[in-house]
């Protein structure tokens, strides 16, 4: 709320920097916003792995599993749009890539671009809306359904809550400039896609990402249970490939 109050999509970078430099506790709230999103993303990922390891995707009903997978996807989307709407130099580049990735999809690409990333046409307004709406969707539609308030407020989760508060006090994540860089990297979870884009056409990369989501959903689908070891194996392989491409990008950017 504090972050969105000071953010103006018409002057994105200026307003984010002003939040940091002029608003009392502004840097803390921006860092809190950043670290909580990163922690949420990592936690949801491990929650997915944990569910698979313990076999909850089979024990619970398919809708619960579907919602967990969707939460993860929506969370990635929100984190990515958050990266774009701060509109520093790397955010700008990430936005352009996202816009062009949308456009590479045949038939529906134009509509999807206009809905989510029409940056070259209309600036950041819709990306900002997607970020806000996505957050509400996640908070109300998925998390509240998924976890009860009573559980969230129990002392069991206090360490995670406090971790969110301590990290922004210790670490500072500045806005990024592309100055002095020959290779600019996107958000860390996007490195693999960035690496794949070096070798595959945009549509091919999108197809691979889409395939992973479908595969993940299929894991919880009862009729497909007899193939679950195959599906799981393919997913692990996919994840390995994604990590390797992420490392390639990391290496290229740091040499």
């Amino acid at each position: 709320m504090v972050v969105s109050y000071h953010y103006f999509y018409t002057e994105p970078l200026y307003s984010v920097i002003r939040l940091e430099s002029s608003v009392p506790f502004g840097r803390f709230f921006r860092s809190l916003h950043y670290f909580s999103s990163q922690l949420a993303l990592i936690s949801t990922f491990f929650h997915l792995i944990d569910s698979l390891y313990k076999g909850w995707h089979h024990k619970k009903n398919f809708v619960a599993w579907l919602f967990l997978v969707l939460s993860f996807i929506v969370l990635i989307f929100i984190t990515f749009t958050g990266y774009v709407i701060r509109f520093d130099e790397v955010g700008k580049l990430a936005g352009t890539i996202a816009e062009n990735l949308c456009l590479s999809i045949p038939y529906v690409g134009g509509v999807l671009r206009d809905l989510l990333f029409p940056i070259s046409k209309g600036g950041l307004y819709r990306v900002y809306l997607a970020h806000i709406y996505g957050s509400f969707l996640l908070a109300i539609g998925l998390f509240v359904w998924h976890a009860s308030i009573k559980r969230v407020l129990s002392l069991k989760y206090a360490p995670y809550l406090y971790l969110n508060l301590i990290l922004p006090l210790i670490f500072y994540v500045p806005l990024e400039s592309e100055k002095g860089k020959t290779i600019v990297t996107g958000p860390w979870f996007f490195w693999g896609a960035q690496g794949l884009l070096k070798f595959l056409p945009p549509l091919g990369v999108l197809f691979l990402l889409f395939l992973a989501v479908v595969w993940l959903i299929l894991l919880g689908f009862k009729p497909a249970r007899k193939f679950s070891s195959w599906v799981g194996g393919i997913l692990i392989l996919w994840l390995l490939v994604y990590v390797i491409f992420s490392l390639i990008i990391y290496r290229d950017a740091h040499t």
């Binding site: 200026y14 920097i17 940091e20 002029s22 406090y162 301590i166 006090l169 500072y172 500045p174 002095g180």
Partner: protein, 427 residues
Amino acid sequence: MPTLKRLAKTKSFWILLGLVILLCLFYSEAKKDRREVAKLTSGEVELCITCHQEVVPEKVHDKKVVGCSSCHLGNPYTLDLKEAHKNIVKNPGDLRYVNLTCGQPGCHPTEISKVKNSLMATNHGMIKRVVEVFEEKEVLSLYPKLSVSQLYQSEVYHKTRNSLGLDYYRKLCGSCHLWLEKGKLPYFLKEKGGGCTACHLVKEEDEGLNSSRKTHPKLVRYPPMENCVRCHNRSGRIGFTYQGLYENEQGGVGDEVWVDGRWLDRVSPDIHFQKGLNCVDCHTKEEVMGDGNFYYSLHEALEIECQTCHGGDGTTKKGRKLKNFQKKGTKAYLEIKGSKKLLLIKKPVRVCSLSYHKRLTCVSCHAKHMPDCYGCHIKYDPRETHLDKILAKETKGLWIEHESYRRLALPTLAVEDNQRVVTVTPG
């Protein structure tokens, strides 16, 4: 650990921890210096200028137009000292990262690749000549286009470490090229090198002792003669002779002393110098900064001749038109690039076109004098050490230059390629 686990189960522990966090937060906020966000004239955010108050004494690179980070890199989006200065560069003109600074898109991208291929950056002519004199053909067969940037590579260094010719170059010539890191060498040599800034940077005086504001060095479009002479003062001593200075081996009362301790006598300067022309008024951008081609010698790279202006239409021998050459009616003028002053160009007199003068170049008659050294020789002492200008450290092997005497005399004439009579001097 069991105590911590027990504590984690109590509400008071978490409340206390929350209070500690809150205190830390208030403390860090109280320490923070709050400033208004600075913007450039383009509307881009540039926080560097919030702290850096240095005056940039020129319009093109004005701080409010290009900011600091466009040239010096770093992160302009933060006031955090450490983060803001990450990856910062002191000299943006250094050829090692010039593609990210001066050569970035929107600034001077086309010039950079040309400069890197120019003789001032490759020094190929000098390297080739020295290696040939030392009869080390194997070096050139290994690296036919050996340039000074390659000498910085460890692989090339190890493969050529036994070459005396290259050792001579590294120790006696290696400070006059654009790849030299400015300020890396000691004494007067620290002023040399620096890529683009080797030529285009002029030091400005600070506003005064009482002023807290420092003055940023000035960048100039047309390098002043002093910048050229910083390097072009050895071999043929062209930088000295042009402005009427003669390097005297003995020195005397009233002599000037050059930065490296050499004695200079005042003699009559070149007529072009007297008229106020600087080196870049005649020498074209392509000659000096390269035209993209790799040249094997200075002879190949040069394109202006006396006839380009005197009797010519301002077109060089490579077919390029001088931008400061103007024709008004029957008269021709050359504009001084800095002051925009027009100078009337004299046409060759009738005697120049006489048939028996046909093979003479203009300088063979018009050059008043030229410094000549006699008995030049070098001595190599493998026991002593000498500053290697490429490695920037003392290494084994000392080169000592000797000469018997020096004279300022009428230039020696020679026939070039059995065609033209030219002036020659030991280089």
